[in-house]
């Protein structure tokens, strides 16, 4: 039986490995969902009614059902439906499936945040730009964009902090993120058996990372504090 101080480095490196997967999923989701969300928000505000209705329906379904279920459907669905698993085997296949599920899910949440930000800009701002002879582009980039950003930052930071924690859901399809790595020690992993503390210790990673994000977001909020809308 290894002492705690003998276990620690082994656990530490295993958890680090899991946390890399967690971070990868986190950043890939942001990279995909931030722009996709913007696209979805434009569709959900489209003047073309069928597109608008369809988009809002999809958003409703995605936001109204558990992400865990969406992960399972996206991972197993194609195989069950067409008889061909499209994700490929192994960790990289699971990762791709998880990333797709997360991007779709978070893009829908982000799209609603974008939409509320865009819709919160008073119409008078556009009109003031128009009577000053600005083009639509100029009004967007020079007048409304920063006001939208200011509106969006607080709800966005909430959502992004939730995403950090939500990445742990990916272990339902056996993605080897940090909770998965910690849980493995409760049975046997890296020669250590029946230990619960590594699982609890994963909380430290989440707290540290979310602490950094919180600081960054509040800095950004402060930066935009100089004006009021």
């Amino acid at each position: 039986m290894l002492t705690f101080w003998e276990q620690f480095p082994i656990v530490f490196s295993a958890l680090n490995e899991g946390f890399v997967q967690t971070l990868k999923l986190f950043f890939i989701t942001l990279l995909g969902a931030l722009p996709l969300g913007l696209l979805i928000s434009f569709c959900s505000m489209s003047k073309f009614a069928p597109l608008q209705k369809l988009t809002r329906m999809i958003i409703w379904i995605v936001r109204g059902s558990p992400l865990m279920l969406q992960l399972l459907i996206i991972f197993f669905g194609p195989g069950l439906l067409f008889g061909v698993p499209i994700w490929g085997g192994g960790e990289s296949g699971r990762f791709t499936a998880a990333a797709v599920a997360f991007i779709i899910n978070y893009a829908c949440y982000f799209s609603e945040i974008y939409r509320s930000g865009i819709e919160s800009i008073p119409h008078g701002q556009y009109e003031a730009g128009q009577v000053l002879g600005m083009t639509k582009r100029q009004i967007f980039f020079k007048v409304t964009l920063l006001q939208m950003v200011k509106r969006i930052v607080p709800p966005m930071s909430n959502e992004i902090i939730t995403l950090v924690k939500d990445t742990s859901l990916a272990r339902i399809i056996a993605l080897q993120e940090i909770i998965w790595a910690g849980e493995a020690f409760t049975t046997t992993s890296h020669g250590i058996s029946g230990q619960v503390w590594p699982l609890f210790f994963t909380g430290v990673y989440y707290l540290a990372f979310n602490g950094i994000l919180t600081i960054l977001f509040s800095k950004l909020e402060k930066k935009l504090d100089y004006f009021k809308i």
């Binding site: 009109e127 003031a128 009577v131 000053l132 600005m134 007048v143 004006f227 009021k228 809308i229």
Partner: protein
């Protein structure tokens, strides 16, 4: 031909007729005040002149240039419309300043986007306009740091920066506390006599009487009466305007 000629403007929102057969004209350097009760279409008329609304029919002719003609309207491109719009300036009831810019930046933003002058010229223009409206020591303040009256004066400077042929005001003081209306009205009055041509929608009857060269009284989407301040206030003809004036003089 008059400087501004508005002919038979009509505007409907769905089935509601908001403007009916509006025709008037004004000369360069004149101040025209538009009065009338709530819902009579004053704002809509100003918005038509600024191309924020498109009239259903009629004509707007400025300085012999046809800016709008209901018959040929569909042929106008965005770019053309922007050019035509620049003949008019607009000061809104609710200021609509850009919150993320300082007073000076609010004034200089549009000219600097047009790139017709150098940055130094635009900066000097902005400063002189803010000085003109009495805000030379508030140039670097953000709108949220200014009182309503100061914000409205920035908005006036902002509209002047593009040298519009005609500057329109939509109840420029009605969103202000009573003690702040004076400073704004004084600025507007100060613009008179220069080469500023102005159309002012207002509920301040004293102001209209003192500043306007001509007054239009609107009721239910039509021009009910038009004349000099003396005619309108001294010798109103229609029953509607008599009732309106009696009401506006009522003290509560």
């Amino acid at each position: 031909m008059a400087f501004l000629q508005v002919n038979h403007i009509e505007k409907h929102f769905g089935s509601t007729k908001v403007l009916e057969n509006i025709s008037f004209s004004m000369e360069k350097g004149q101040v025209l005040a538009i009065i009338g009760s709530s819902g009579s279409g004053k704002t809509t008329l100003l918005r038509c002149l600024n191309f924020l609304e498109t009239p259903g029919s009629g004509q707007i002719v400025l300085n012999d240039e046809v800016l709008f003609d209901g018959e040929t309207y569909h042929a106008i491109s965005d770019e053309e419309q922007r050019k035509k719009r620049l003949h008019f300036g607009m000061v809104f009831q609710s200021f609509n300043l850009f919150p993320q810019y300082t007073a000076l930046q609010n004034v200089t933003l549009a000219p600097s986007l047009q790139k017709k002058q150098s940055a130094e010229e635009i900066d000097a223009l902005g400063k002189s306009l803010l000085k003109k409206v009495g805000l030379e020591n508030k140039m670097d303040f953000y709108p949220c740091q200014l009182s309503g009256g100061q914000q409205q004066r920035v908005a006036i400077a902002r509209a002047l920066a593009l040298h519009p042929d005609i500057l329109c005001f939509d109840e420029p003081t009605s969103a202000l506390d009573p003690e702040l209306t004076g400073e704004v009205l004084k600025v507007i009055k100060g613009l008179k006599g220069g080469d500023s041509t102005m159309i002012i929608v207002t509920h301040e009857m004293e102001f209209a009487k003192n500043v306007a060269d001509r007054i239009i009284f609107m009721a239910d989407g039509v021009i009910e009466e038009e004349g000099t301040p003396d005619e309108i206030f001294g010798n109103p003809k229609s029953e509607k305007i008599k009732a309106f004036l009696a009401k506006s003089l009522e003290t509560i």
